[in-house]
């Protein structure tokens, strides 16, 4: 009986590759023009292939090559991928090179994913949250081949992944230690990398791509687009939750609502005397909107999932704050940062598209299979956690007061959303669109981003509903209706019950928090446009072209 099949198979692939590339294979590196030959040799039909579609960086050269392979030679691949961001991520299914997919997020391609799935060309294993997907790479979904992107490599294949390290370490480790093949596209091949992020011993093939790998500036938000309503909600978040629980360690979900909070720290939070009392430690990408808060001394540390285009020089000038290596440049790590966001943060706050009467929250809509990225992980109580903090203990007490259970803490999970979205679509619904999507896409369960029993607070322009303090399903439902404003869900409230919940502090309006709505103007933002952010950074922040008019 052979116990060595993986290694034997690996050797066979490497041999085929060497033969195919001949003397154009120089150590580990091959010319870009020969990439198709390498992939045809190294990949076998039915393989699990992990491609770096990350949230930000894309191994676009490799992804394009994969999508254009000959489906008669290579087909039925099982794609493992964090994010489906580029058209070629779906072309690979359209052309019959791949047939199966396990992933986390597909925002830009969500409609096409749904179409291909219903056409039978794309068989979805499951949607995952990032950390969950990486975990399965070590258990039942080890990649046979991984296609990743790095800044640079040396002749030994040592890789520098730098600020945009993102998912690479988890992917490469899982692949290399199951005898898989690791193929990397790099921006340059150098004599000496600034820092070894991934050791060459784990790397098989390196190709310098014709263009640097693509990075999406996903986390940049132009302050000019923040509305007065968002300023009001940010004020309520800061006074009603951050100050109330003393939130020092947190993660912000992506969006303008949280960008408004970031920009209110040096102004509104400062005026409340909160510097040093909230917002010290962040699991967060380097949001440009956080610059004023960093400069004002609110922020002590930021650990990131990835970097953000344009922030390089600013990060470099703030080594006390960011995760800077001995070489002076940043490293990000999505797996570790997701773990940090889960266990080492006391609060997650983010936005959503829909919330139902139990507080289940989802961005799933019919006709689009998008997944949730990291939100499901961040927005979940960390039941394995054992260390205490004031915020965690206070939330746990509120949830368990009057109940006969052993005391423990709880993570604050806040959903911040306006009651109506664009085109007067209500954010509060009796039944999530996720149910419809479940039927359409034949999923086992409706795709929910954050489960109601993890949500601790819902914050709208109408106020804050504290679900920790609700003791029955009915109270919970009315608390939600009580902040759902003029949506049909809100209008159907039991007015008496909602008044009672307000008296008990379960619902708090802006007035109850002592917030003067007349202060909720854009003047309260520490930066009101991209230029203000650049000025706040002392000229170090260089916004990407699409955000600049200079």
């Amino acid at each position: 009986m052979s116990w060595n099949t993986l290694q034997q198979n690996r050797e066979a692939r490497l041999q085929r590759a060497r033969t195919a590339l001949g003397n154009e294979l120089d150590g580990k590196s091959l010319p870009a023009a020969r990439i198709a030959d390498l992939l045809h040799a190294a990949i076998e039909c039915g393989d699990r292939v992990c491609l770096e579609g990350n949230n930000q960086k894309q191994a676009d050269f490799l992804g394009h090559a994969l999508a254009n392979l000959n489906p008669e030679l290579v087909n039925d691949l099982h794609m493992l991928q964090s994010v489906l961001a580029l058209p070629e991520h779906l072309d690979v299914f359209e052309r019959g090179v791949a047939s199966r997919l396990d992933f986390s997020f597909s925002g830009p391609q969500a409609a096409r994913v749904a179409r291909l799935a219903s056409a039978g060309k794309l068989n979805i294993g499951a949607i995952h949250t990032y950390l969950e997907l990486f975990s399965r790479y070590f258990i039942d979904l080890p990649p046979r081949v991984c296609l990743i992107a790095a800044e640079s490599a040396d002749r030994h294949g040592n890789l520098y992944t730098g600020p945009n390290t993102e998912d690479s370490p988890a992917i490469v480790e899982a692949t290399a230690f199951k005898q898989g093949i690791v193929i990397v596209q790099v921006n340059q091949i150098v004599d000496k990398v600034p820092r070894v992020d991934i050791p060459g011993d784990w790397v098989d093939f390196v190709v310098q791509s014709p263009r640097p790998y693509y990075i999406e500036p996903l986390f940049t938000r132009d302050p000019a687009q923040i509305s007065e309503i968002q300023v009001l909600m940010a004020m309520m978040a800061i006074k009603g939750i951050y100050a109330e629980y003393g939130v020092q360690r947190l993660n912000h979900g992506i969006g303008f609502d949280t960008a408004a909070i970031e920009l209110l720290l040096p102004t509104y939070a400062e005026s409340l005397g909160l510097k040093g009392k909230i917002g010290k430690h962040w699991a967060l990408n380097p949001h440009p909107a956080l610059i004023p808060a960093i400069e004002a001394g609110f922020v002590q540390s930021v650990h990131s999932f990835g970097s953000e285009l344009g922030m390089e020089d600013y990060i470099h000038a703030r080594p006390d704050v960011f995760a800077i290596g001995p070489d002076g440049t940043m490293r990000s790590n999505r797996a570790m940062c997701q773990a940090a966001g889960h266990y080492a943060c006391d609060m997650f706050i983010g936005s959503t598209l829909q919330i139902d009467l139990q507080g289940n929250s989802s961005t799933a809509t019919a006709g689009r299979i998008a997944g949730f990225g990291g939100a499901s992980n961040m927005g979940a109580d960390a039941r394995g956690r054992r260390h205490a903090s004031p915020a965690w203990l206070k939330a746990g007490e509120q949830a368990r007061a009057g109940r006969n259970t052993i005391p423990r803490g709880q993570k604050l999970v806040v959903q911040i959303v306006e009651t109506f979205r664009e085109h007067m679509q209500p954010a509060f619904v009796e039944r999530l669109d996720a149910w419809e999507l479940m039927e359409q896409a034949k999923m086992a369960i409706p795709p929910v981003m954050i489960y109601g029993d993890d949500v601790t607070h819902i914050l709208t322009e109408e106020g804050i509903a504290n679900l920790l303090m609700c003791r029955t399903d009915e109270e919970r439902e009315q608390a939600i209706r009580g902040v759902a404003g003029y949506t049909p869900v809100g209008l159907a409230r039991d007015a008496k019950m909602v008044e009672n919940l307000r008296d008990r502090g379960i619902i708090q309006r802006a007035e109850d928090l002592g917030i003067d709505k007349r202060l909720a103007t854009r003047d309260l933002l520490a930066a009101r446009n991209m230029k203000d952010l650049v000025r706040a950074s002392g000229g170090l922040y260089q916004p990407p072209k699409r955000f600049r008019n200079w």
Partner: protein, 103 residues
């Protein structure tokens, strides 16, 4: 475009300042014109809106507005271009506060 009209009685607060306008008729926004008027104590609100079919929501918003301020002999005219109830309430409150001289 849709035009909606509301009339509320039992108001107690009369405004004495000259007419004011607040807001801009841009996408997702509205302008609110507020004027003292001889209306036998009533507060009337006329809304011309580009977002058609939201009558019940407008009514609920206007009722709550009247409950908050109980204006009398006041005429309010609105040109709306798809503002959400949040923005509508905000602008209307801003309009009253401007009239009261404490905006």
């Amino acid at each position: 475009m849709e035009t909606l009209n509301y009339r509320f009685e039992q108001g107690t607060r009369r405004l004495t300042a000259p007419p004011e306008v607040v807001g801009v008729v841009g996408s997702g926004n509205l302008e609110v014109l507020i004027e003292p008027a001889q209306l036998d104590g009533a507060c009337t609100i006329e809304i011309t809106t580009a977002a058609v079919g939201f009558g019940p929501i407008w009514e609920a918003v206007m009722r709550d507005f009247h409950q908050r301020w109980l204006l009398a002999d006041t005429r309010i005219s609105i040109n709306d271009m798809g503002a959400t109830p949040a923005v509508v309430s905000l602008r209307m409150d801003q309009a009253v506060q401007t009239m009261l001289g404490d905006a």
